[in-house]
């Protein structure tokens, strides 16, 4: 499998994971390690930024795990920029998953505030990975302001509904010059494999692992599904057979003298 490069950093795993919703921090740690993931997103709101011995941080402190603080909970660009600066100082990383969702029920991302925040954060030196709707035009606009990747949703966050936006994800993958990470909604390993098969560069999975009956086993399943999906993409999927019917020959004129 070809490695994934985001902002100059190389990942051998294309499965990114989250840290929410686990029944215990030790179980979370075990699942994260079982997933093979090398990028783990952490909600800034859950971390005690003034305490380096914060319990959550202790459990994600492994050399192979890169931290991706997220701005979950902020509702405006202004709040996001403030949260990002806080995260950079506290966690000593300029990587950031930009999430702005003013809607508390579905946690749907605000495209206008996200674009505003992304533009400013890039200027401030952040490596910005924005969580967005599967909106192809928005993704191109974000790319143009300098985001390191785009993270379109497959379905509402935490819903486990799968790739409801697949038609738009395909357009985003086709058009993007930056890595595309399908984020939110992925409910099963087959969803993750499908996202990889259509050419997504990575997937981010949290709820489907954290709330599974056996999160560690599920993490392993996702690890294999992402690998299989990527391999299928790189191998080139065999075509769906469509019979062409030449009911009214169109090129007969070429044979006429």
């Amino acid at each position: 499998m070809t490695p994934l490069v985001i902002a100059g950093h190389t990942f051998s795993s294309r499965l990114f994971t989250g840290t929410g919703k686990f029944s215990s921090l030790p179980l979370m740690e075990e699942a994260l390690l079982a997933s093979g993931s090398e990028l783990v997103t952490v909600a800034l709101k859950r971390v005690d930024v003034h305490n380096q011995s914060d319990d959550m941080l202790q459990h994600v402190h492994h050399p192979q795990l890169k931290l991706l603080p997220n701005t979950s909970g902020v509702r405006t660009a202004k709040e996001a920029v403030y949260a990002a600066q806080l995260a950079r100082e506290a966690l000593e990383t300029n990587w950031l998953k930009l999430e702005i969702h003013p809607d508390p029920r579905y946690l749907l991302p605000d495209p206008i505030e996200t674009l505003k925040a992304a533009e400013e954060l890039v200027k401030l030196g952040f490596i910005v990975l924005p969580y967005v709707h599967a909106d192809p035009v928005l993704c191109k606009r974000l790319e143009e302001v300098g985001t390191a990747a785009v993270m379109p949703l497959g379905a509402p966050i935490g819903s486990n509904k799968g790739l409801k936006t697949i038609d738009f994800l395909e357009i985003i993958v086709e058009q993007s010059n930056v890595p595309v990470v399908v984020d939110a909604g992925i409910g099963s390993p087959s969803d993750a494999a499908k996202a990889m098969e259509i050419g997504a560069d990575a997937v981010l999975v949290n709820t489907a692992i954290a709330v599974a009956a056996n999160p560690v086993l599920m993490a392993q399943a996702f690890r294999q599904a992402v690998l299989a999906g990527r391999q299928a993409y790189e191998a080139g999927l065999a075509p769906v057979h469509r019979q062409a019917v030449a009911s009214s020959p169109l090129i007969g004129f070429l044979d006429e003298v």
């Binding site: 058009q175 993007s176 075509p239 469509r242 169109l250």
Partner: protein, 369 residues
Amino acid sequence: MSGFRNIFDQHNWEEEKASIYAKTSRDVEAALAAGKRTLEDFKALISPAAAPYLEQMAQQSRRLTQQRFGHTMQLYIPLYLSNECQNICTYCGFSLDNKIARKTLNKEEILREVEVIKAMGYDHVLLVTGEANQTVGVDYFREAMQLIRPHFSNISMEVQPMDQEDYAALIPHGLHGVLVYQETYHQADYKLHHPKGKKSNFYYRLDTPDRLGKAGIHKIGLGVLIGLEDWRTDSFFTALHLQYLEKTYWQTKYSISFPRLRPCSGGLAPKVVMSDRELVQLICAYRLLDQEVELSLSTRETPKFRDNVIKLGITALSAGSKTNPGGYATDLSSLEQFEISDDRSPAGISHMLRTQGYEPVWKDWEEGY
């Protein structure tokens, strides 16, 4: 230097050519059945191995074209403003070493031409010149557009490559689209055919669509001059260029043209002859690769060929064209850039289109909104 040049330099002409000619019927069948086609699929579709599949390609191409463009056909007409040229192009009637009378239209002459073209029904005009920056430079174009703009909704240009600032300066004066053909992506042959003048700079020409994209032009036309080199390899590079541009300048529209080298005064014979069958194959291959791209066919082609091929993927036609400056009203006998093959009037072409169930579209843009 960023831009397409970086991608181009990673590709080797001979390797790409060998790869195209090595494609098999299995590759063609896979390409025909694929949902989203890649450049490798495109190679298979333009390869000799695809020849027996032409009917299938045509059927699919027609279906995709109708799905995206419906039953409409864009009509355009060239307005040759000047045949002055400081370049030597071995195949072109305007070449510097071709001792012909040179002509650049003045304001009154431009307006006379405009009157005739408007009377034909056109609302979209393509301005064409040779490359003579001293007399036909950005200032001349600006003045010409100021004259022309009140009469046309849509102005395109097929003139010498210019700097990004020049394109940007012309957009407020109504410049909507720019056609710039690479002629050939084969660097050594490019040098051979363009030994003198600014045009001999291969990379300046190659970078032109990047400059247009950065300037924010609405539409860019690409293509090669078919006959200078192996058309399959040249078309692969055109498709590579197209895909790069579509991803990078994503707010721009794109068109492809298929000029087959035609006889002209003092010009050379084509090195490579492309048959009608091969041109149909190429048109269909572009459509199967790219559902959105506009495909344009000029009056270089014969009436019979044009009447049949419009159903297979073409979305734009020229009609009633004169390829000499002043050819519509001012100086009917001045030298043509090349001979045309379809001399039917726009009304005649319009009638033919309607007979075949197509609506002729005389403009496709209105600057007012």
